[in-house]
Every structure is written in structure tokens, then in C-alpha cells.
């Protein structure tokens, strides 16, 4: 059994300081275990947000030695414990207390995105058919556990604080999941360009690097969305067409049709 020193940000709002705590390290331990040990033994009031402790809920995001990580999926074996291990709250969001930040802006960002809008049911039994190969890429995006590490690391939010003009990598992934859904017929391209600030992303791929679900955020979500924006707004032919012929959109299912799908 070895002992490691943890240097943890303690404080309310922006007021606070670094505190050091010793933790006994046992086999297979993760950083979240160390935080819990500190909470039990030294600081009952140490604030930390967590739920599943299995990398599935995305609650325990923090910066460990400066790297945005899930605390429950960071094994102590992967960390150099000859130096104090620093754990601090995410930097892209306002601090609440200790390791907890106010991530509510993400929920507001998501709500602004046009929700799923399915096309009319077109199979003989009144429902839809989808091929596995057509849903594979959407399923990649739907693995997202909303840990917001990608939002945290993105310089547009982290350094430039463009939270009002830029919805960030998580919500581009959300847009991509909707836009590439085989049943969806809504068009979010104009919002992506004008409201959601996709142009701010200069594809440095920091978001992809920190994603615990290994979603290829930049290559598979953001770049294809940028291409849609370019096609629609910057391609001279499309622009010309748009003046004379508004974009033709496939009709969405009516509530009655959806009701029939459900009742079977």
C-alpha cells in the first residue's frame, strides 16, 4: 500500500484555495475512490458530483493534473504519485463548490436545438424500416454520456467564453445525431450557422481527444455539419436555387400518424 498526496481545490464560488490530503492507494483504485476516501476520513463536506461510478452517467467530470477526465475511469496506476495529484473543477463553467460546477448552460443549449422530427411512416405496417448500416453512425453519436468534457476543453468556451454564441462540441454531436437520423426531416443548417456558431470551431480536435466514449466528434460530427452549412450557404449554385426555389422539405409525420405507429 502506498500513500499519495492529493491537492484539491476547495472553496465556494471563485473564493477558495488548494488543500492537500494524504490517501492510501490500493490495487485498481480510481481517482473517485480517492476523493471518497478524503470525504469519509478528512472532509465530510467535500463537494463532488457523481452517480454511477462506472463511466456510464458522465457526472464526475473534473480536471486531474490539468486533464479533463472522468474521475471514475481514471485509474491511480496511470498517474505519477511521486508528485501531488491535483484535482480541480471544470474550467469552462461557473464554480459552485469544491469540485462541482454549474453546468446548466448545457441544458439550455440543448433545448434550443430543433427536436427530432420523424418523416411519415412508410412501411406497409404503418411504421418505419431502418437498416443497421444506416443507423451505425447515429448510434456512435448517441453513445454520448453528456459528461461535458468536450465543452470544457473547447477553447471557444474555455478561453473565449462564447457560451451565448456557440453551443459547443456536445451539441454539435447532438445536432449530428438528429441531422443524420434516417427518419428525421427537420433542417438545422441555418441555426448551426447563424445561432449556434459552428464557424467558431477551427477543428483542433481537442474535444475528440478527451471524449471518454471515443466519439470522433470532429471528424464524424462537426466536419460533416460544417460541410452541410457550406453547401447550403456558400455554394453559388445552391444559393441561386434558394432564391428561386425554397428548400423542399420532406413532410413530417402528423401526431395522428405517430399515434398509429405507437398503437401498432
Amino acid at each position: 500500500m502506498t500513500t499519495a498526496t492529493f491537492r484539491i481545490w476547495r472553496g465556494t464560488g471563485n473564493e477558495g484555495s488548494w488543500e492537500e490530503y494524504p490517501v492510501e492507494i490500493s490495487e485498481g483504485m480510481v481517482v473517485l475512490d480517492a476523493i471518497h476516501a478524503i470525504q469519509t476520513e478528512h472532509a465530510n463536506d467535500l463537494a463532488v458530483r457523481w452517480n454511477c461510478k462506472a463511466g456510464k452517467c458522465g457526472s464526475c467530470s473534473a480536471e486531474i493534473n490539468g486533464n479533463p477526465r472522468l474521475m471514475c475511469m481514471t485509474r491511480m496506476e496511470t498517474i505519477d504519485t511521486s508528485q501531488p495529484v491535483t484535482v480541480e473543477p471544470l474550467r469552462a463553467f461557473p464554480r459552485v463548490r469544491d469540485l462541482v460546477t454549474d453546468v446548466s448552460v448545457n441544458f439550455r443549449m440543448k433545448k434550443s436545438v430543433t427536436p427530432f422530427t420523424p418523416r411519415k411512416p412508410d412501411a406497409a405496417d404503418g411504421t418505419w424500416r431502418m437498416k443497421q448500416e444506416d443507423v451505425d453512425r447515429v448510434q456512435e453519436f448517441r453513445k454520448c454520456i453528456e459528461c461535458f468534457l468536450c465543452q470544457d476543453v473547447c477553447h471557444v468556451l474555455r478561453d473565449h467564453h462564447k457560451h451565448d454564441e456557440f453551443i459547443g462540441p456536445r451539441h454539435f454531436v447532438y445536432n449530428a445525431a438528429l441531422e443524420m437520423h434516417p427518419l428525421d426531416v427537420a433542417d438545422r443548417t441555418s441555426d448551426l450557422k447563424k445561432r449556434d456558431g459552428i464557424g467558431y470551431c477551427n477543428i483542433t480536435k481537442c474535444c475528440t481527444a478527451v471524449c471518454p466514449e471515443h466519439i470522433k466528434i470532429t471528424d464524424n460530427a462537426i466536419i460533416p455539419l460544417k460541410e452541410r452549412v457550406v453547401d447550403e450557404f456558400y455554394d453559388p449554385l445552391t444559393r441561386l436555387f434558394r432564391i428561386f426555389m425554397p428548400k423542399k422539405q420532406e413532410p413530417a409525420a402528423t401526431p395522428e400518424e405517430i399515434g398509429k405507429v405507437i398503437d401498432g
Binding site: T12, Q39, D45, C52, C57, R129, Q132, I258
Partner: protein, 605 residues
């Protein structure tokens, strides 16, 4: 002294997992104003942890399936202590709830002809579980969340309810604190739906997250509701056992559904050694037949690894007890052997079980495409819960509803895998519908200010212990260790009596649990408050278990290892008496409808 903010809603939903979200969507759709209070951030509830799938007799992967077989499977799995009407409604309505999720944007895995694919699972006769790899719960909660945020209900994230309020006999709302700053909030409501999930945190080894402290069970009990079947806990047979820090984390039954086998230290597939009579006619008697079933041969019967969870868990305990366990006290779960059968076996495993692959790789350093997993039982689910009306989900307290894991009845003595996700949406919808109907006929209740002061004083007590305070985390750990040891998977009269006494001492210590510093996001304080609920629920479990002198489903009594027919005629019920003490009684199971009885008999052949 009272200082709190007041909110008024027609319907208040407590809990935002699958059941709570589905209820809120339904009640909002019915035109009622709805508030949704949840202990964590939206989308983080324990539903995200559900892996294998959602049981619904859609017949996409096997056209022989229909609701009646699903009903019979559920009743057999529950050892006939189920509320048969709930089991019927569940089997009939689950397919519509799956299609509804698809219409709201869920992306299930597909069959070759483009329909929703269905997989094998324990206790289900046919391929029945709609799924998305091994992250079906995440798909469900995200779909309900993303749809729900546009339905007009108001969400209160990181709020914890400390007590329900009543106006005479009927429900009147709830009193809560918000986590960030510890401020109090009064929610006045005409009807309240409890959808708070499970109680796993009463035990040391559990697959449940920190939230699973039985809040809804305890709140409803203290508000006068009846609890049923609380002796029945599901110990999921396959939790991780090594390293210690991950002990208890779930390993999906989907591993066995995809062909995973259980082996002891001698390499023997021990599940063939003990097949219960009720299942011999539908269980394979050799390895070849088991594999043929996995790959969809309709003539083949299920491999014994897909027997019900209660039975598989007990077989694992037997192997470990008799000295044939793995190095860290479990057994081996082997999926890599399918490479002998499938040439792209490794890829198949990664495609079908991606999160299991990552979970073992990252947390255990084990490559499941090459090595076996070490697994053992983990406290996973409570079959017991708030007793509700089968159709409406209302408890005996007028206006108080319950849905999902915190409600009892559907699963009887043991739940089949995959029946939980379907339970959430089938009965979440029903609770929302009937709570909205109930609220529409009611006026806003009156709140007793004195009662609120009392609750508030009690909630702040941890800050006022001077000198003799106890560390709430230590009390919680001691409770969990005690319950694990004395009221866990194998029970004895002696241990259960010990537990009952131990709970008295723990309650006394909990009354001195202390918190310090301020009320901003203070886990010490929150843990101190959760103790009341954990203790109430633990007592329900122990009192119910001690009087069931037989072994059935999730309740295994070492002094009475056999099932007793006589005990199959009643359910345990728990109520609070006038003086605040807990009372246990037996309630006769109502006679089953004849047509349903014939379905059960038909399926026994």
C-alpha cells in the same frame, strides 16, 4: 424560522429516470401543470446503467412470441407472487412503448429486414429484448429526456425531497432542499408520483449509484402507504468482483445472451448441474444445443446460463462456498470461447458488448475477447415496493402514485432481466395518465405550516449536534456492511434477528449524525439525511425476510432452503402504525382470472 420558496403544480413527479420522465410527459400531455424534481442532473438517473434491453413481445426476431407468453414468463419468473393484472398490462402494453420510443428518436439495433432487433435473455422463452448494444438504458433515458424537455414541464435538478406532505388523508405535496445552496422548497401539488428507483445502497456490494437510498419507498411509507414484497431483493448474478474499487459494478446479462458461459475454477460449466423443475422442459441439456439456441435455432432450448437471475446467483454462491470459485471469490464468465464458433468472434463481442469490453479493459485490465471475467452476485434491484392499484398506480394514500422500481407487484419474487425498462415506461405512462386525471378533479390542498417547521428542524438537526456528533459516512458504511453480512443473498433466522437488533443501534447513531460548515453542496449533510431512508428500508427488508420461512425467488433462507406451497398464497405487507412503529402482515393473493390461469398452464407444458 421557516424560510422556503413555494411552487405549485397540478402534478409533482419525484425522480427523473425512465418512469419519472415518462410520467411527466404523460401528465403534461394531459394538460396539467407538472413539476419534475430529481436528485441528480437530468439524464444521470440509474436508468442509464441498464444495459441489456427492454422486454416486449413484438415478435420481430421470433414470430412465435406474443403477449401471453411474455405474461406467463413474467409470472413464472416471479414465482407467482406477482400482481397478475400488472403482469398482464405490462406484457400487452410494452410493444407500444417500444414503438413510441422509436417515434421519439430512439435508435434501436436492427434486424436484417430493418425492424427493431430483439435478443435472448434469462427467463424469456423467445428473443424478446429490444436493445442498443449494451447501453439500452442510456438510449431510453436520453430519448425521454430529449423529447421531454419540449413538453412543457418544469425540471428541478439536484433537488432532494425530505418528506411528503398531506392535507388530511390526501397528498398535498413535498418538501425539498436544493443541493447547490441547501435552500428549502415547498412543492404544493394535487397529486404526487414517486419514481425514485431502488434501494441498493442499503448493501455494501451493489450495482446501484449513490442515489439508490430508497427515498421513495421511505417517503411513501412515512406518508401512510403500504409496502409489499420487501423481502425480495434481486442479487444480480454477475457483478464485477475485482479490483476492490469496482466490486459490484454490473456485468450485463447480455453477455450470456450473446453466448457467454459460466465456469468454475475446474473449468466446469456448472449451470448444467442444477436446473429447476419448472424450467427443465425449456432448458438445453447439452452445450451444443445451448449454442444452437444462441444463434437462433428455433428447435433448440435455452442454455442454463439463461435461467432466472435468482437461480444463477445461488449457483454461483454454491460454487464459491464449496471451494470452486475464482481467485477473488467469484466465478468465471467466458465470452471469448465463442471465437471457436464464430470466425469474427472478437469483433462480434466488441460490436455487441462495447461497454463491457471497455469497462473490463479500463477498470480491470482484462481483455474480454481473450480472457474470462471474474464475476459474482451484486445487489441490483428490489422487487418489493409501494403497493399500488394495478390499473392506476395509485397507492392507498389518495393522490399518491408510484411507478418503476419503487412500486411493487409486477415482478413478484424475482424480476426477469429486461422487464425493468419496459416496466418503467408502461407504468410510468399509466401513473402520469391517472395522476393527471386525479388532479383534474381536485382543488389545491392546504399545507400545515407547523408540519413544515417540524420537517425543516429535523432536516437541519445534523448541523446542531455539538460534541457527540457522528460521521454520517461511517454510519452508512456500517449499515451497508451489516446488511451485506446479515440480510444478503443467503439468509438465516439468526442473522436476520441480529440485523433487527443492529438496526436499533444504527438508528440511535443516525440521530447523532453530524454535518459541518455551510449548506452549500454539502455531501456530509446529504448523507446524514439519506440515513433515515436507508434505515427505514433496511428495516422493511429484514422484517419481511424474517417471517418468510421458505426460499423463493430473490429470498433465499438457509434454514428453509425449499419453496413452500403454502407461502405462495400471500404477499408480505408493511405499514406504519399510529405510534410510528413498523408493522408486518400477510395479504392473500387475489384469485387469478381464469383466462390468465389457462395461459399459465398452457405455458407450463
Amino acid at each position: 424560522m421557516s424560510s422556503y420558496q413555494t411552487h405549485e403544480f397540478d402534478v409533482l413527479v419525484i425522480g427523473a429516470g425512465g418512469a419519472g420522465l415518462r410520467a411527466a410527459i404523460e401528465a403534461s400531455g394531459a394538460g396539467q401543470s407538472v413539476g419534475l424534481v430529481c436528485k441528480s442532473l437530468l439524464g444521470k438517473a440509474h436508468t442509464v446503467m441498464a444495459e441489456g434491453g427492454m422486454a416486449a413481445a413484438m415478435g420481430n426476431s421470433d414470430d412465435r412470441d406474443d403477449w401471453s407468453t411474455h405474461f406467463a414468463d413474467t409470472m413464472r419468473g416471479g414465482q407467482y407472487l406477482n400482481d397478475w393484472r400488472m403482469a398482464e398490462l405490462h406484457a400487452k402494453e410494452a410493444p407500444a412503448r417500444v414503438r413510441e420510443l422509436e417515434a421519439w428518436g430512439a435508435v434501436f439495433d436492427r434486424t436484417k429486414d430493418g425492424k427493431i432487433n430483439q435478443r435472448n435473455f434469462g427467463g424469456h422463452k423467445y428473443r424478446r429484448l429490444a436493445h442498443v448494444g449494451d447501453r439500452t438504458g442510456l438510449e431510453m433515458i436520453r430519448t425521454l429526456q430529449d423529447h421531454g424537455i419540449h413538453q412543457g414541464f418544469e425540471v428541478f435538478m439536484e433537488y432532494t425531497v425530505v418528506e411528503l406532505l398531506k392535507d388530511g388523508d390526501r397528498i398535498a405535496g413535498a418538501f425539498a432542499y436544493e443541493r447547490n445552496h441547501g435552500r428549502f422548497h415547498l412543492f404544493k401539488a394535487k397529486s404526487v408520483i414517486i419514481a425514485t428507483g431502488g434501494v441498493g445502497r442499503c448493501y455494501k456490494i451493489t450495482s446501484n449509484s449513490w442515489e439508490g437510498t430508497g427515498d421513495g419507498h421511505a417517503l411513501a411509507y412515512r406518508a401512510g402507504a403500504t409496502m409489499r414484497d420487501m423481502e425480495f431483493l434481486q442479487f444480480h448474478p454477475t457483478g464485477m468482483v475485482w479490483p476492490p474499487s469496482v466490486r459490484g459494478i454490473l456485468v450485463t446479462e447480455g453477455v450470456r445472451g450473446e453466448g457467454g458461459i459460466l465456469q468454475n475454477s475446474e473449468g466446469r460449466r456448472f449451470m448444467f448441474d442444477d436446473i429447476p423443475d419448472a424450467y427443465t422442459h425449456q432448458t438445453a441439456d447439452n452445450e451444443d444445443e445451448g449454442w444452437r439456441y444462441i444463434i437462433g435455432d428455433k428447435e433448440a432450448r435455452r442454455p442454463p446460463e439463461l435461467l432466472t437471475r435468482d437461480h444463477v446467483a445461488r449457483c454461483i454462491v454454491r460454487e464459491v462456498r464449496e471451494g470452486r470459485g475464482s481467485p477473488h471469490g467469484g466465478v468465471f464468465l467466458n465470452i471469448h470461447w465463442i471465437k471457436e464458433q464464430l470466425k469474427d468472434g472478437s469483433e462480434h463481442i466488441k460490436k455487441k458488448l462495447p461497454s463491457m469490453y471497455h469497462q473490463f479493459m479500463e477498470l480491470g485490465g482484462v481483455d474480454i475477447t481473450k480472457e474470462s471475467m471474474e464475476v459474482g452476485p451484486t445487489t441490483h434491484y428490489v422487487m418489493g415496493g409501494i403497493q399500488v392499484d394495478s390499473e392506476t398506480q395509485m397507492s392507498i394514500v389518495p393522490g399518491l402514485f408510484a411507478a418503476g422500481e419503487c412500486a411493487g407487484g409486477l415482478h413478484g419474487a424475482n424480476r426477469l432481466g429486461g422487464n425493468s425498462l419496459s416496466d418503467l415506461v408502461v407504468f410510468g405512462k399509466r401513473a402520469g395518465e391517472y395522476a393527471a386525471k386525479y388532479a383534474a378533479d381536485q382543488s389545491m390542498p392546504t399545507i400545515d405550516a407547523g408540519r413544515i417547521e417540524e420537517i425543516e428542524r429535523h432536516a437541519l438537526r445534523p448541523f446542531e449536534t455539538d460534541g457527540d456528533g457522528e460521521n454520517p459516512f461511517e454510519i452508512q458504511h456500517d449499515l451497508q456492511n451489516m446488511m451485506q453480512e446479515r440480510a444478503g443473498i443467503v439468509r438465516t433466522e439468526e442473522n436476520l434477528s441480529f440485523a433487527l437488533d443492529a438496526l436499533v443501534g444504527l438508528r440511535e447513531r443516525a440521530s447523532r449524525a453530524s454535518a459541518y460548515d455551510n449548506r452549500d453542496y454539502n455531501p456530509g449533510w446529504h448523507t446524514a439525511l439519506d440515513l433515515d431512508n436507508l434505515l427505514d428500508v433496511s428495516e422493511m427488508i429484514v422484517r419481511s425476510a424474517i417471517e418468510r420461512r421458505e426460499s423463493r425467488g430473490g429470498h433465499f433462507h438457509d434454514d428453509y432452503p425449499q419453496k413452500c406451497e403454502q407461502h405462495g398464497t400471500w404477499n408480505t405487507v408493511i405499514t406504519m402504525t399510529g405510534d410510528g412503529s413498523m408493522q408486518r402482515a400477510e395479504q392473500q393473493i387475489p384469485a387469478i382470472r381464469e383466462d390468465l390461469q389457462s395461459i399459465i398452464e398452457e405455458n407450463q407444458k
